[in-house]
Structure formats: C-alpha cells, structure tokens
C-alpha cells in the first residue's frame, strides 16, 4: 500500500517535471559546430615524427653503401678496361683512397651536424 502510494507520487512528480525540460535555441547547434570546425581548422595537424637525425646505423648504411657501390663500379670498370694488374697500381689505388676519404669525410660531417643540432635543442 505504502509502496503503491510512493510510486503514485513519483509518477505525479515525473509528470509535473517533464514539461520543465528547456528547449535549446535553434542556433545553438550551429554555434557549437561552427566553433568546433573553426578550432579544427586552426589546430595544426600533428606532424609525423621525422627521421631521427641521430640514427647512426641508417646513416652509415646509406653513406658507406653508396661508397662501396661507387668503389665496386670503379673496380669493375678498371678490371674490364685495363685488366687485373691495373687494380694493384698506384694509379688505381689513389682514386680509390680518394673516393673512400671523401665519403668518410661526408659521414663525419653529418655526424658533427647531428651532434650540433642535438646540442642546440
């Protein structure tokens, strides 16, 4: 009996409260969506993390890989054009050392550059 009365009262309050729901104005949705779209447009897109400048192995692979490719081309060219003996002459070893030195120097410079960038940050 008491429970029924309670439920009855609850129902009356619910009926009385329902029309109390406020109605949002027509333009509110537009205002909200407009602000959200503006924010989205103004927010810089997250950049994908770039290549890690200090990736030692990758840099070494790229530079020394190129170096060995150039040296291989030189060896094959000299072998085919001048013969096997030419490969042991100073005229051939000189340019080989030069090419190796240039690439090594280049690698050293990239390492130094990466180090300075990290230090600057």
């Amino acid at each position: 009996m008491k429970e029924n009365r309670k439920e009855h009262d609850e129902e009356i309050i619910r009926k009385m409260m329902q029309p109390e729901m406020k109605k949002a104005p027509e333009n509110l949705k537009y205002r909200i969506m407009h602000q959200i779209n503006t924010e989205k447009a103004l927010t810089p897109q997250k950049k994908k993390p770039g290549k890690e400048s200090g990736n030692l192995l990758r840099e070494m692979g790229a530079i020394f890989g190129s170096m060995y490719a150039v040296l291989s081309a030189m060896v094959i060219g000299a072998y085919l054009l001048q013969g096997k003996d030419f490969l042991l002459t100073p005229q051939f070893i000189g340019p080989v050392v030069l090419v190796a030195s240039v690439f090594s120097l280049f690698w050293l410079m990239t390492r130094l550059d990466a180090y300075l960038k990290i230090r600057k940050k």
Binding site: R5, H8, I13, M16, P19, A24, K29, R31, I32, M33
Partner: protein, 186 residues
C-alpha cells in the same frame, strides 16, 4: 550507427558526426546548465563551452559509461566554474534558507493566475540549486541514482538522501501552491 561508432568517426576526423551528440543531448544539457546558472544566456554559453570541451577531450571518453553521463558531468562542472556556485550546502542551511524563502515569497505570488508549469518552475527556482538539479536529473531523464552520482560527483547514498530531501521539499513547496488533492497526491 551507435554512439561508439559516432565517437570513433569524430576521432578519425569527421567532425560532422559530432552533430549527432549536439542534437541528441543539447536540450538536457541546457536544462542542467539553466538549473545551475539561473538564466538562459549563461546556460547557452556553458553548453557551448561544454560541447567544445567534450570534443577536445573525446579521446579520453571511455565507453564503459554512457556518453550522456560523461557530457552532463562536463556541463555540470563547467556551469559550476562559470557561476562559481556552491552547489551542496549542509541540510540545515538548506532548510533554513528555504523556510525563509517560503515565508517571503508565498504572499507575493498570485498562485491562482499561474498554471501548473509555471508553479513547478517557480518551485524549482525556490529550491536549493543542487536539489532542483537532482530532481531534474532523476525525473526528466530517468537517470538512475548511479548515473546521477557520476554526474554530480556525489556518492550514491548521498544522492539517495539528497533526493529524498529534495522530493520532500518539492512536495512541501507544492503544498503551499496547490492543495495536494488537486495535484493528485494522496
């Protein structure tokens, strides 16, 4: 499309999918904000700010709770910050405050001229903001006590006690305006 799919769409960059949440919950959001702020202008600003906050923090929304509960919690917090209101006073303070309001206001209002809706609106305005909000959440949206606790940050037994008091206060104030039989109470 369910709400979780909508959330995923918004997170993947489709902002127009967010319109679904605005359309579905804006009325209740503005009702909550109005209950706390006390006027429509501030309530609209609060709701707008809340939706933008919800959009910004959508990645932190956990699907374990309902989206509406999560959103109303944001609206509730934003409205409180906006108005710098102290929502939950002690029960004694409430009763004293309401008792004084009752004695002051009942003579001023010509109840014969007001329809039921206006009376309810007036009663809710006279009640403590927190109590009126609890009744709003409980009766308008049929939110269970558990959800109300999440929205208001109160614990469940506390919500039950406050809801009981709010209901009692509502009936008492209503009795001042109508005879209880007119309304339908036994």
């Amino acid at each position: 499309m369910n709400e979780n799919q909508c959330v995923q769409q918004v997170l993947s960059g489709n902002t127009s999918a967010f319109a679904y949440f605005v359309e579905t919950y804006q009325d209740m959001a503005i009702t909550i904000a109005h209950r706390i702020c006390g006027n429509m202008q501030d309530a609209e600003d609060v709701v707008q700010e809340s939706y933008v906050k919800a959009y910004r923090n959508l990645h932190s929304f956990r699907s374990e709770s309902k989206f509406s509960t999560w959103l109303y919690r944001i609206v509730y917090n934003t409205a409180i910050t906006h108005t710098k209101t102290r929502m939950w006073m002690g029960s004694q303070e409430t009763e004293i405050e309401n008792a004084s309001e009752l004695s002051e206001n009942t003579l001023e209002i010509n109840l014969e001229e007001m329809d039921r809706k206006e009376v309810v609106s007036d009663i809710l305005q006279r009640m403590q903001k927190g109590d009126a909000l609890l009744l709003t959440l409980y009766y308008m949206e049929d939110n269970p006590v558990k959800e109300i606790a999440k929205i208001t940050g109160l614990n469940e037994p506390n919500v039950k006690v406050k809801l009981f008091r709010a209901r009692k206060m509502f009936k008492e104030l209503l009795a001042e305006c109508y005879s209880m039989e007119d309304v339908g109470f036994n």
